[in-house]
């Protein structure tokens, strides 16, 4: 076993363990921290694929900003009822785990099918080889984002702005935490 395969299996185990923790833990904060573990491990997987920029962005945006906010908000609220709702009932729990299993099975199946189809078509180069040449550099990424797909990129920005404005508008209307009255 080389160092790279060891790293891959180690990180894959961390990702799966973190993701399972998100679903199986009863305490929402533990779940959120499990999700953080998954995010960080995914960033580390990006590093082993030499996609350093993606890894850094994953760390800054998801692990560093989004999840910190999640954890903060979870800690701020009193979550006794939610903890009960999460952990109540064996049948519901089994249903939840079952549905998660079906979803992950679907995803894995789709990937496997795509891979087999790719091989059947005799696609040039595996996924790994394209990743190491193109994704690691920032220039191809920037060219894709700001030249080839600039319209959809800007559209996504507008969408995010709409979401932010909408959230503020909703929370300021009736009964929200920022209610005017």
């Amino acid at each position: 076993m080389t160092a790279d395969t060891f790293l891959f299996w180690f990180l894959a185990f961390a990702i799966i363990a973190g993701a399972l923790g998100v679903v199986l833990m009863t305490n929402p904060i533990h779940s959120a921290l499990g999700l953080v573990l998954t995010m960080v491990s995914v960033a580390a997987i990006f590093v082993t694929l030499q996609a350093y920029f993606l890894a850094g962005v994953q760390l800054i945006v998801y692990a560093g900003a989004v999840m910190v906010l999640f954890v903060m908000v979870l800690m701020l609220f009193d979550l006794k009822n939610e903890i009960q709702a999460f952990s109540r009932g064996r049948i519901r729990g089994a249903l939840k785990i079952g549905s998660v299993g079906i979803l992950s099975g679907l995803i894995v199946g789709a990937f496997a099918k795509a891979l087999i189809a790719n091989q059947a078509l005799g696609a040039k180069g595996s996924l790994a080889s394209t990743a190491s040449t193109a994704v690691g550099a920032i220039k191809p990424l920037a060219e894709n984002l700001f030249f080839n797909h600039v319209f959809s990129f800007e559209l996504l920005g507008v969408l995010l702005l709409v979401i932010a404005v909408g959230t503020v508008a909703l929370s300021r209307s009736k009964g929200g935490t920022h209610d005017r009255n």
């Binding site: 160092a3 904060i29 921290l33 850094g56 760390l59 560093g64 910190v68 800690m75 701020l76």
Partner: protein, 379 residues
């Protein structure tokens, strides 16, 4: 950094370097604590620790023994696992991020080249920012795991502050990235060697005395970056997380002994990253005022007359140059802490969101416009 290394030799060297950089960081902390206590005493017209050893230097050894022999206390209402995990995790982001900062010219020894840094990352800035942004979790974990109101309030304040100032921090170095056109810290330092000279609008400006450092290209970015790093490392005037008058000691209220010391090392680690990045972005990294490493090497070669020795000396001289700048910034951190009072919470948020963020944005836009105009329009 392509991987852990391909041969056994490379892997061993990388491993040793990792351990060395980590030890350097940890060993710098007692000196910094001593400097902080003596420095604060000097600023406040006191003596500071001066009894144990010469100038009180052995005080820290005595403190370490005290820390190690303290009672291992865990609050009853808290979460035991998180309470123990938080101080351990506090060390990791600071240590890993510091390894990406280059500290000297690569050492060339008969065919082998050793980089004087933990590991080289092609997108150094993104890596350092990404890894050090994970520090917010240790604070949150400590605050939650303590099961105390003061701890939780301190953790909330600290993480809100870190998130708010991360934006200003990230935007303040966009100008730097635009000027040098790279994310790589080594390339940035290479661009700052020698005397100041640049061309714009068809004119070439050069100076015989000033160095080619980033501060002359990005003065606003420098100020914003330095201010934001104070907030990121929870130092005064931004240490709302601690706020002794309101929160006892913030997120580490319940911590004592060695666990407290680990938080300390983490905080100083963030100061070190900030100082290293300040030197790298705006003050030429390891480069020496007005001279390129090649010039220094030739001068040393003329002095000792041996290629091997000149190479080693060149690395050592640049390493000292880097550490001099590094130490100056660390001293400024301490100096500011004992000079300025703490902000109010609303002032803190106003400075972050309404002052620093717009200025950083404006700086980035101005830099982009000037770079574009300076290279396309010739008068």
């Amino acid at each position: 950094m392509t991987s852990m290394g391909t041969t056994g030799f490379e892997i061993t060297v990388n491993l040793i370097k990792t351990v060395l950089v980590f030890l350097m960081m940890v060993q710098a902390v007692p000196i910094l604590v001593w400097l902080e206590r003596r420095g604060s005493a000097f600023i406040q017209n006191r003596f500071g620790p001066n009894r144990v050893g010469p100038l009180g230097l052995v005080q820290l050894l005595a403190d370490a023994v005290k820390f190690l022999t303290k009672e291992d206390f865990v609050p009853e209402k808290g979460s035991r696992f998180m309470f123990y995990a938080a101080p351990v995790f506090a060390l990791i982001p600071a240590a890993i991020a510091y390894m990406a900062i280059p500290m000297s010219v690569p050492l060339k020894l008969e065919g082998a080249t050793f980089l004087i840094q933990g590991f080289e990352v092609n997108v150094g800035i993104v890596f350092v920012l990404g890894v050090s942004s994970l520090a917010a979790y240790t604070i949150l974990m400590a605050g939650w795991g303590s099961g105390s109101k003061y701890s939780l309030m301190g953790a909330m304040r600290a993480s809100a502050q870190i998130i708010s100032y991360e934006l200003a921090l990230g935007l303040s170095i966009v100008g730097v990235i635009l000027i040098y056109g790279t994310f790589n810290l080594t390339d940035m330092i290479n661009a700052q060697h020698g005397a100041l000279s640049f061309s714009m609008f068809g004119y070439t400006v050069s100076s015989a005395y000033l160095p080619n450092w980033g501060i002359f290209y990005q003065p606003i970015g420098m100020i914003l970056f330095f201010a934001a790093t104070f907030a990121e490392s929870n130092r005064l005037p931004f240490d709302l997380a601690e706020g002794e008058a309101e929160l006892v000691a913030g997120f580490h209220t319940e911590y004592g002994g060695f666990k407290m010391l680990m938080f300390f090392i983490g905080e100083y680690g963030h100061m070190m990253i900030a100082s290293g990045l300040m030197a790298t972005f705006f003050f030429g990294g390891y480069s020496i005022w007005n001279f390129t490493p090649q010039q220094v090497y030739e001068w040393l070669y003329g002095l000792v007359g041996s290629e091997l020795l000149a190479n080693i000396l060149n690395t050592v001289v640049h390493f000292l140059s880097y550490n001099l700048k590094f130490a100056i910034f660390l001293w400024i951190f301490i100096w500011v802490r004992w000079t300025l009072p703490r902000f109010r919470y609303d002032q803190l948020m106003d400075i972050g969101w309404k002052t620093m963020l717009p200025w950083a944005l404006a700086n980035a836009m101005l830099t982009a416009t000037l770079i574009f105009a300076g290279s396309y329009f010739i008068f």
